[in-house]
Structures are given as structure tokens and as C-alpha cells.
């Protein structure tokens, strides 16, 4: 196994004048599940497409499984499995036909192909659906077929773009179960993009991507403990008035995000007590908890993960660049 599944340095990508990726440096170790977390439009999908060899490299060096992306894309393609956000299955064909065509594209045929299809569909609980048309399968099952397809040529690196899109919580749980199994049994490195915080928690390591730049990198626990204490979120009548008062009387520096104030406090409940004693008039609501990945994101970027403040999850139909 190479030390790193992928090494990226100084990567810059532009669409016209818009900079989608701004000087990205990243190293993903072999055998880990690495997550790229960020809001839509943050640059995740661009990075994903570069690694999948379908976007031309503009600036920087990218090494995938020991091969140079610029000059050895063919060697990379034989060794990676790619699952796009938009399903890449032919809905009019059966599960077996889809897998068969995919195998043929990678030069696998005959008995060897049949053996692999049977084994994979067995593992993914698809064995009894082999002759069903893909269009008749549920979203969760289709996603499983996609992943089985991506594994047919036994790749060393699996790239997944927003794999949970359109999946219900049960199917999402199954998906992650299969990813862990892959890592254990086949030592496949998995690189997954996501905008779902709960999903990011499940990765071995994470990079937070915002406006084309990494704002943080580490294991989910490392990132959360980097906050150094608990998080208190105040919704108040007038954030601009309250903030200087808090600095003056309590010696804490709140961060204003939209109309809320965020405080990081060490295990000193005195601050909380004083806060409630003195300013209860001005506080509408109060949340005190362990930091989440969203807190990390806000701390590093100064803005919410969801710019509009709403957590809306829906299948993304539109093609984004």
C-alpha cells in the first residue's frame, strides 16, 4: 500500500473568473475514510471531479495512488471507483446488465465477471434483484447498486459524491455500514463529499471546505475539541448592544452570527450563571452544549454552514459546476 492514497498540493481551479478551489493542499492516507465537508458551492464537487479525472487540471499537482493526475490519468482510472451524485445507472437496464456493461468497460468478462457480480450482489444484499430493472428499485437500493458497480473492478480508492443524497436514514445507515466493511475487508480508501454534518461525524478524518479553501482538517473529535470548551448560543433582543456588555462584565468575546451570539466557554459554569443572572432580560433563548462540527465551521469562517440559516435537505437535481 502506498503511504498516501492521494496527495494534493497548490491546487487551484477556476471557472472563468470564479475561483472554485484556492490553493488546496491535502493528503489522504491509504485505508481511511476521509470526508470533505462543506456547504454547497464550497468547492467539494470540483475537487471530487478533478480526482475522478473528468476535469482538466489547471494548476497545482495531484497524485492519486502514486500516479500523476496530469500525465497518468489512465493508470488512475483503472484503480479508482467513482460514484457520482447523479445516478450513473441506466434505469432501463436490469441490475445485472448495468454491472455487466460496467465490467466490460474495465475489461472484465465471462466467468470472472459473473463471479464478481455474484459475490458483490451477495455482499450488498442485491442477489435477488439482479434481473430487476434499475428503475423499479428504491433510492437506497439504487445507491447500493452504484457502489457495487464502483467496486466491480476492485479499486483501491473509492470516490463518493454526496452518497446520502435522497436516502432515508435507514438506507444511510446501511450505506455507512458497507463503507466501514469495505475499509476493514478490502482496505479500500474512501473519499466522500458531504454537506450533512451527521454524516461527516462518521468519517475517520475530515476537511472543512468553504469558498474553495480548507478552513480546518482533522478527526471529528480533534476538530470539536479544538473549540476548547462548550458552546453557548444566545438569541437576544439586540445582539449588537449585548456583545460589548458581555466583553466588559464577563471578560468573554462573543462571536456574532446572524442575530445570535456565540460564546466558547471552558468548564466554568460561573460564566453561565452570571450570564443568566445579569442579562436574562435581554436574552430570548439560551443553548449550552458540547461543540458540534457546525460550531467548528462557524468558528473558522464566521458564518453559518447554511447561509440562509435553514437546514434543507433535498436531492440536488440541478447540475452544478
Amino acid at each position: 500500500m502506498p503511504d498516501a492514497a492521494t496527495n494534493i498540493s497548490g491546487l487551484i481551479h477556476r471557472y472563468g473568473n470564479r475561483v472554485a478551489l484556492d490553493n488546496i493542499n491535502l493528503s489522504v492516507a491509504a485505508g481511511e475514510i476521509f470526508g470533505l465537508l462543506g456547504p454547497n458551492g464550497g468547492g467539494k464537487t470540483t475537487l471530487f471531479r478533478l480526482l475522478a479525472t473528468i476535469l482538466p487540471l489547471q494548476q497545482g499537482t495531484v497524485d492519486v495512488l502514486g500516479f500523476d493526475l496530469q500525465s497518468q490519468a489512465h493508470d488512475i482510472r483503472r484503480r479508482i471507483g467513482v460514484t457520482f451524485q447523479s445516478p450513473a445507472l441506466d434505469p432501463r437496464l436490469t441490475v445485472r446488465e448495468n454491472l455487466k456493461h460496467h465490467g466490460h468497460l474495465y475489461g472484465i468478462s465471462g466467468g470472472e465477471l459473473r463471479r464478481r457480480i455474484d459475490k458483490l450482489t451477495q455482499e450488498f444484499g442485491l442477489a435477488d434483484r439482479l434481473s430487476d430493472r434499475v428503475i423499479s428499485l428504491s433510492g437506497g437500493l439504487q445507491r447500493r447498486v452504484e457502489i457495487a458497480k464502483g467496486l466491480l473492478h476492485e479499486p483501491q480508492l473509492l470516490l463518493l459524491d454526496e452518497p446520502s443524497t435522497g436516502l432515508d436514514p435507514g438506507a444511510r445507515h446501511d450505506l455507512w455500514h458497507s463503507l466501514y466493511k469495505l475499509r476493514e475487508e478490502r482496505h479500500v480508501t474512501v473519499l466522500v463529499t458531504t454537506h450533512i454534518l451527521e454524516e461527516a461525524e462518521r468519517c475517520d478524518r475530515l476537511a472543512l471546505l468553504d469558498h474553495g479553501q480548507f478552513v480546518a482538517e482533522g478527526t471529528p473529535d480533534e476538530l470539536k475539541s479544538s473549540i476548547g470548551g462548550d458552546c453557548v448560543i444566545l438569541r437576544c433582543r439586540n445582539a449588537d448592544e449585548l456583545a460589548p456588555k458581555l466583553v466588559e462584565s464577563l471578560g468573554v468575546t462573543p462571536q456574532k452570527v446572524d442575530e445570535t451570539l456565540r460564546l466558547e466557554i471552558t468548564d466554568d459554569s460561573q460564566v453561565v450563571k452570571q450570564l443568566l443572572d445579569r442579562f436574562s432580560e435581554e436574552i430570548v433563548s439560551f443553548t449550552w452544549g458540547k461543540p458540534t462540527l457546525e460550531d467548528v465551521f462557524i468558528q473558522r469562517t464566521g458564518h453559518r454552514f447554511w447561509e440562509s440559516g435553514e437546514y434543507v435537505e433535498r436531492p440536488v437535481k440541478a447540475r452544478r459546476h
Binding site: 500500500m1 502506498p2 471557472y15 471531479r49 475522478a52 479525472t53 473528468i54 476535469l55 482538466p56 495512488l65 502514486g66 489512465h74 493508470d75 482510472r77 483503472r78 484503480r79 479508482i80 467513482v82 457520482f84 447523479s86 445516478p87 450513473a88 445507472l89 441506466d90 434505469p91 432501463r92 437496464l93 446488465e97 455487466k100 456493461h101 460496467h102 466490460h104 468497460l105 474495465y106 475489461g107 472484465i108 468478462s109 458497480k149 473492478h153 476492485e154 483501491q156 447540475r319 459546476h321
Partner: protein, 285 residues
């Protein structure tokens, strides 16, 4: 240090297998859409019968044809070319669908050569076009038994059918490549339909398929410049030599037709390969 290069399970893509699998996929998709099967054969047959019945009275055989040529006989090779054109063109629309459905992305990240992608797609379109054109050529003459068309003045013997099939295969491949070049950069099937009505359909009309257009000033000039004119003329020469007078002056000779159609096909295929090999942001639409 890097042992991954020698992974035992690593497989090589194979050109023949790729072309085969992409062709089979095209065929399976086509036959699963029954309305497409009916439409593709039914429409040209109806065209031939209705236009033939409506226009035969107004038809004057062109200078190169025997004087008793019926309009149905004149129109027969033209309809065969229409079938080939439509099927070839419609099968390339699937490129736009493949892009939208995501299948194409999956193919583009696989290690196959882009040339094998093009050849696979074109072979699929060609086989479909051939099946339908040959069905029409076999069924069409039977219409006279139902009194829907006059008996055709030319005979479709087995050797002649084989020659016709071979010629149509080449023409289908060329026209599928033309459709591919149009479909590749497009991102909507509506766009394709627009191009079809302002470019492809007129191209067929001005190929001598539906009217001879001799001595018609600018029209005749356009027809001479239209590559499809030579596709249709070549098919006439192979399919209905009895209907052509001895020297056949005014109708391009077989050698000219074969040469120009081949050149046209090679140019379209080359352009299709060139377009597909360009790696650009538009691949990921």
C-alpha cells in the same frame, strides 16, 4: 514503495469488448421502448405509401430515369435513406440522455479510450439503422399486394440486397457520426430537435430523395453541394439499375458516390473522435 502498480486484480480495458458492450446496450435500450420500434418503421412506411399515392400523378421522371418510372419507385431509395438518417440521428440523441442520466460520466471515468466510446456508440446506431432500413426494403415491395403501391420496376435479388445492406451500413455509420457531432456539445434534446428541423431534414429533402430538382437554379446548386445527394444517388445505382437509362447522365456515378460518401463518413467520424477526446469542463455538465 508503490506496490499498487502490481495489484493482481488490475484489469485492462479491451477495445473490442468496449465496442461490443456499448453496442449491445444501445440495442437493448431500443428494443425495450416498443413505441420507438413501431414509430421508427411505421412512420417511413406510411410516408412512402401516402406521399407515393398523393404525388405519383404530378411526378415527371428525371432525365436519367426510364420514362415509365413511378413516383413510388423514385421515392423508395429516398425513404430508405430517411430511415437511416432518422434512426442514426435518434440513436445519437441518447448521448444527451446519457449525459443527463449520468451514465456518460460513468463511462468517461472508466479507463476505456475515447475512440472506443465513439466507435461503440456509432456501431450501435448503425446496427439499429440497418435493421430498420432492411425491414423497410423487404416489406415495401409487398405493399403492391395490398394495392397500396404499384409494383416496383426493380428487382431485389439476394446479391443485390447484400450490396444494398453493405452500402446502407456505410451510410448509417457516416450519418450516425454526423448526429454524434451535433449531439455531443448539446445539453438538451430540445436543442437537438431544433437542429434536426432546420438542418437535417432539409439536408434530406435536398438530397434528391423526395424530388429530382433538376434545372432548378439555386436549388440544384445546393443539391450538388449536399453530401447526402451522393449517398442517395449511390443507393439508386445499386438498388435500381433497371430504372436508370443507359448512361444515366445527371445522376452521379457510383464511383463518385462511394468516394464522396466515404470521405464524408471519415470526416464525421474524425470530428466525433476529436470532440470526444477534448477534456473540458463541459464533460461534467
Amino acid at each position: 514503495m508503490n506496490t499498487t502498480t502490481n495489484s493482481p486484480s488490475l484489469t485492462h480495458p479491451r477495445f473490442g469488448l468496449t465496442v461490443w458492450t456499448l453496442t449491445m446496450r444501445e440495442l437493448v435500450r431500443f428494443f425495450r421502448q416498443r413505441t420507438r420500434v413501431v414509430g421508427a418503421l411505421g412512420q417511413p412506411l406510411i410516408f412512402w405509401v401516402l406521399f407515393g399515392a398523393g404525388l405519383h400523378g404530378a411526378f415527371n421522371p428525371p432525365s436519367w430515369a426510364v420514362s415509365d418510372m413511378s413516383y413510388q419507385a423514385y421515392f423508395f431509395p429516398g425513404i430508405a435513406v430517411l430511415i437511416v438518417l432518422f434512426t442514426a440521428i435518434f440513436s445519437t440523441i441518447s448521448i444527451i440522455e446519457d449525459r443527463r442520466e449520468g451514465f456518460l460520466q460513468g463511462v468517461l471515468v472508466s479507463p476505456i479510450s475515447r475512440t472506443s466510446l465513439v466507435i461503440g456508440k456509432l456501431t450501435g446506431g448503425t446496427v439499429l439503422a440497418m435493421i430498420q432500413a432492411l425491414l423497410f426494403v423487404s416489406i415495401g415491395p409487398l405493399m403492391s399486394m395490398l394495392h397500396l403501391a404499384p409494383p416496383l420496376e426493380f428487382e431485389l435479388s439476394l446479391p443485390r440486397m447484400l450490396a444494398v445492406a453493405g452500402y446502407l451500413a456505410g451510410l448509417s455509420f457516416a450519418l450516425t457520426a454526423l448526429g454524434y457531432c451535433i449531439a455531443w456539445p448539446l445539453d438538451s434534446t430540445q436543442g437537438f430537435h431544433a437542429i434536426m428541423s432546420v438542418f437535417l431534414l432539409p439536408m434530406w429533402m435536398l438530397s434528391g430523395a423526395i424530388f429530382p430538382g433538376e434545372n432548378s437554379g439555386w436549388l440544384s446548386v445546393i443539391m450538388k453541394l449536399n453530401p447526402l445527394t451522393y449517398g442517395v444517388a449511390g443507393l439508386r445505382r445499386i438498388m435500381q439499375p433497371e430504372a436508370i437509362v443507359a448512361d444515366g447522365a445527371g445522376l452521379p456515378g457510383l464511383a463518385v458516390c462511394l468516394t464522396l460518401t466515404t470521405l464524408f463518413g471519415v470526416a464525421c467520424v474524425a470530428l466525433a473522435v476529436f470532440l470526444t477526446q477534448r477534456k473540458s469542463s463541459s464533460d461534467t455538465r
